[in-house]
């Protein structure tokens, strides 16, 4: 279903979407860094056209998504995102969806030009993920924080406890999202049921809409909390592709060895990373760049 018309391309070619896609294999750290850059460029292009949406979180987590989808971590088939043998990714922090849309487009799951329809009437690229619109790779609707992780735990339960298959389920939450109490209900449940097929990624950029996370409501220490809830918890540099892949490999090892422990990867990131004027600025949580700001951003990301 693609009702939305793609707006005509802008005068500045930096703002145009290209058709390059990338393969899901064990890309080198340098290649992953390049892919993350392309994801960031597409995020800027999408948001500039949409005129609304979230810049900070998507830009800050682009390296995580590059490692997950192009580092040979997740098993999926871009031509068939319903493939029964796929791993699943649930975006719990629904407002960060531009990074997921950009990632899926760069993986070849749907035409890159469709990114121009973000937030337009009838689009498959809803402001927050809408499963009903049928964009390949969108496993669930989300946008009310704290729910995606529970859905992912439910999926992991179906795989491990009912179907006994070897599927892995990933879910990404923000760090402000940890203030939602039901996140911890899900965490308790994941370790109770020994879901070693479940990987919880926390995008720890220390920012939320109203300010720095500890100023709004302190969630630290995150690692200790997750560990005490029964997660094998590791901290990675969320902007270092090699470190991210190391984190995901740690999870895969946990699963294949039957450790009986879910994994939590705390990725230290900077909101808006890659665009100098947005870097580590919580003010960029929920707004798009203007036309001029977008061109500056794309020049920096060139």
């Amino acid at each position: 279903m693609m009702n939305a018309e793609a707006p005509t391309s802008s005068a500045n070619t930096l703002l145009d979407f290209n058709t390059t896609t990338f393969e899901n294999k064990r890309q080198t750290p340098a290649e992953l860094a390049e892919i993350a850059k392309e994801i960031r460029r597409d995020i800027i292009r999408m948001l500039e056209r949409a005129g609304s949406g979230h810049s900070g979180g998507p830009l800050g987590s682009a390296d995580i998504f590059a490692a997950l989808y192009f580092g040979g971590v997740m098993r999926y088939n871009p031509a068939d995102m319903h493939w029964a043998g796929r791993d699943r990714f649930v975006l719990s922090a629904g407002h960060m969806v531009p990074v997921l849309y950009a990632t899926l487009a760069n993986a070849g799951c749907y035409p890159k030009a469709e990114m121009a329809t973000l937030r337009k009437y009838g689009t498959r690229l809803q402001g927050h993920p809408g499963r009903d619109m049928g964009l390949p790779g969108i496993e669930t609707s989300s946008g009310s924080l704290g729910q995606g992780i529970s859905i992912a735990v439910g999926m992991a339960m179906a795989d491990k406890l009912v179907d006994h298959n070897d599927r892995r389920v990933f879910s990404l939450t923000g760090d402000g999202e940890l203030q939602e109490g039901s996140v911890w209900e899900a965490a308790m449940c994941a370790s109770h049921y020994k879901l070693d097929n479940f990987c919880w990624i926390i995008d720890n950029n220390d920012c939320q809409i109203d300010g720095r996370v500890p100023d709004v409501l302190n969630v630290y220490p995150i690692e200790e909390k997750c560990a005490s809830f029964g997660f094998d918890t590791i901290v990675v540099d969320g902007h270092d592709p090699a470190d991210l892949v190391r984190g995901f490999d740690h999870f895969i090892k946990n699963h294949t060895s039957g450790s009986g422990k879910p994994t939590c990867i705390v990725a230290r990131t900077f909101m808006g990373h890659g665009v100098s004027y947005m870097n580590d600025k919580f003010e960029w949580h929920g707004k798009p760049p203007t036309h001029e700001q977008a061109i500056v951003a794309l020049e920096e990301l060139a």
């Binding site: 989300s142 859905i151 308790m188």
Partner: protein, 331 residues
């Protein structure tokens, strides 16, 4: 229809789940620490490998159910309606209904007849919320046998569904042969003088009210409306046209439940005077179930009195109707 004794509707839910478990391997059940109360314990003891205890965590249980449903399972989660329709309202809206996840919720301890536990546990408002959720099916069976059939039916349909059932024993009067279909209301007693539309335990009270009205020569049509959503507009409109006035009866707030559904439907199709029997914008309280039903006006007596008022309004016109008649019509 004759009475076969008293039995709680929650037992119909518990037994219906076992019926489903026998027929379908992909039915799974989530427990919320009160499995004995809502009778999911019956399923658990038969199929422990298909039962998952989630603890006292209704938000998580509801959302986990969505995850299980998106993995091809038919998950049932049951708790008290106070906790599995409101505590998890956001989860029902986004993770279940917006996802069109095939999640089934059993909401127990509904209505004032919960008894001594008091107002916190006597959920009287949830039908209003559940009825407004896109994709949601809402069933309120009238007795044990209908609850059992409704449970099987909701498990075998595709999409989010909620069944409302009670704690205390209530009259058991339908049989395996009594028709039940999601989206349909049934005429349990025919008559053309006044229509009594009821759900849950109030259906039997409506039957008793019809008996009483017959003594004064009034033939009431009793309609059992277990499917609050989807709603049987045709049966209600026919009753409105044939009888000219309606009384609704439910163990719920008079606002936005069954009475609301009947009012919305008839306003569009066949406007007639309606009287609403239910809880009148107040919380419940402790007491014995029968005592509370009496105190809160949830008996056949209230239905009889309301039927007389409804007929009076139909035959002589209320001041409201006259006022509307007297004002000019504006383009």
């Amino acid at each position: 229809m004759e009475l076969h004794g008293q039995k709680p509707t929650r037992h119909g839910f518990g037994d219906g789940l076992v019926d489903l478990g026998e027929k379908h391997d992909n039915v799974v059940v989530l427990g919320g620490d009160i499995t004995g109360s809502v009778l999911t314990s019956l399923f658990q003891s038969r199929w422990p490998e298909r039962f998952f205890s989630i603890g006292i965590a209704e938000q998580n249980a509801t959302t986990i159910a969505a995850g299980l449903a998106l993995s091809g399972k038919i998950p049932f989660f049951a708790s008290y309606g106070a906790f599995c329709a409101f505590r998890n309202a956001d989860q029902l809206r986004i993770s279940v209904c917006y996802n069109e996840a095939n999640v089934k919720i059993g909401g127990g301890h509904a209505g004032i007849s919960v008894g001594p536990d008091g107002a916190t546990h006597q959920v009287l408002e949830e039908m209003s919320f559940l009825r407004t959720l896109p994709h949601m099916t809402l069933l309120v069976p009238c007795d044990y046998t209908e609850a059992r059939k409704a449970t099987v039916a909701m498990g075998e349909m595709v999409g989010p569904a909620y069944i409302r059932f009670g704690r205390s024993p209530v009259p058991h009067f339908t049989t395996p042969d009594t028709p039940f279909e999601i989206g349909k209301a049934q005429v349990f007693r025919d008559g053309n003088d006044v229509a009594l539309v009821a759900c849950g335990a109030m259906v039997w009270e409506a039957m008793l009210a019809a008996e009483e009205l017959a003594k004064s020569g009034i033939q009431a049509r009793v309609i059992n409306a277990p499917s609050i959503k989807p709603f049987d507009h045709a049966t209600i409109a026919q009753a409105a046209r044939d009888c000219g006035c309606i009384v609704t009866a439910e163990e719920h707030q008079v606002h936005a439940g069954l009475g609301g559904a009947v009012a919305e439907s008839t306003a569009k199709n066949a406007p007639v005077p309606i009287e609403f029997v239910g809880v009148k914008d107040t919380f419940g309280g402790s007491g014995e179930p029968e005592e509370l039903m009496e105190k809160f006006g949830l008996t056949w007596r209230e239905i009889v009195a309301s039927a007389r008022v409804a007929m009076q309004r139909r035959d002589h016109g209320s001041t409201g109707v006259r006022a509307i008649k007297d004002v000019p019509t504006y383009a």
